[in-house]
């Protein structure tokens, strides 16, 4: 059969079916189209109040990046603290010793000796005056500490 004859034959069938090719058999709830606009607008409003997934993902990525940088900085600080402790401790000890020496120098030697002697229940009369006056700052420090 020729192509155009087939097409005509098909069109005959389609023409006969055409009265049935309508929306008629499909039904919708009563008042459906009257309320559709309102429901669409409500859905649009709801969509506006919800942060889009893409934005949530973007915020999450940025938050992760910032958290990673903070974690690296923290780890770096811990690493410096762990592997260079002597240098830091050395500085701190020297400073502490200096502070102690300077503090000891501010004391009145006699007052310090009397206070220590009183604390240790030592009879101050048994100590020679020359010896007391010849006490150095190091001796005092030893006396106070031990």
């Amino acid at each position: 059969m020729h192509y155009f004859e087939i097409m005509n034959k098909n069109n005959d069938i389609l023409d006969k079916l055409k009265p049935y090719a309508t929306n008629r058999p499909f039904e919708v709830p009563e008042g459906y189209f009257e309320s559709l606009e309102g429901r669409i607008m409500q859905r649009v409003v709801n969509e506006k109040t919800i942060v889009p997934k893409s934005k949530v993902r973007s915020i999450t990525i940025w938050f992760s990046a910032v958290a990673a940088v903070v974690a690296i900085l923290f780890a770096l600080q811990v690493w410096i603290h762990l592997f260079e402790p002597q240098k830091i401790d050395g500085k701190m000890n020297v400073y502490a010793e200096m502070q102690f020496d300077l503090g000891a120098m501010d004391f009145d030697e006699n007052e310090l000796i009397l206070a220590v002697a009183k604390n240790q229940a030592i009879d101050i009369k048994s100590i020679e005056i020359d010896y007391v006056s010849g006490v150095t700052a190091d001796d005092l420090e030893t006396l106070v500490l031990f």
Binding site: K9, N10, L14, A21, E27
Partner: protein, 184 residues
């Protein structure tokens, strides 16, 4: 003015003058019925069509600012509706692939049990037979035969050449013919 009489250009002009909501309301009023029926005949179920048509308009609202006017507004909204519907059908595997000639006429049974389908036997058979067509043929057949769109319009919506559309329509018609030639 009746919604159908509002021109696309008027809707676009309103939107560009920052009257977004008013423009969108006019767009809904003009296209809601047409888009609904386009979707409904592809998915058959009213509930699915109702959900999809709302989803389509949300998409339209979200992307209206990006509409550049390369295609007509009608083509643009139709393309969104068609793409959303095809995505839905593929995702939900709603398409039945059984032959209309087989004993198990799923679409016939489905339509018979659908509370929102109230057609005659021949109407049921016509719509059931269309559901058995391959996706592209079904789309072309629906848009050409049921919606009476021109090939050029269908071509713009589906981004397929007119020649290819004519071939798909011809194949669709041949299949429908084999179903009905004994009955008519």
């Amino acid at each position: 003015m009746a919604p159908a009489e509002v021109s696309d250009q008027h809707i676009i002009d309103l939107y560009k003058s920052n009257q977004h909501e008013e423009a969108f309301r006019l767009l809904i009023a003009k296209y809601q019925s047409r888009l609904y029926w386009h979707i409904r005949k592809l998915v058959i179920s009213h509930d699915d069509a109702d959900d999809l048509v709302q989803e389509v308009f949300v998409k339209i609202w979200q992307n209206l600012s990006k509409f550049r006017g390369d295609a007509s507004l009608f083509t643009w909204v139709y393309r969104i509706a068609t793409n959303e519907t095809l995505t839905f059908l593929r995702k939900n595997n709603k398409r039945k692939t059984v032959s209309i000639d087989s004993d198990d006429l799923n679409w016939d049974n489905y339509l018979a049990s659908d509370s929102y389908f109230n057609g005659s036997e021949i109407e049921k058979r016509l719509h059931a037979s269309v559901q058995t067509l391959p996706e592209k043929q079904r789309l072309v057949f629906q848009m050409k035969y049921f919606e009476e769109m021109k090939y050029e319009e269908i071509s713009e919506v589906l981004k397929v050449s007119v020649g290819s559309l004519k071939a798909s329509f011809h194949h669709a018609v041949k299949k429908i013919e084999t179903i009905f030639e004994k009955e008519l």
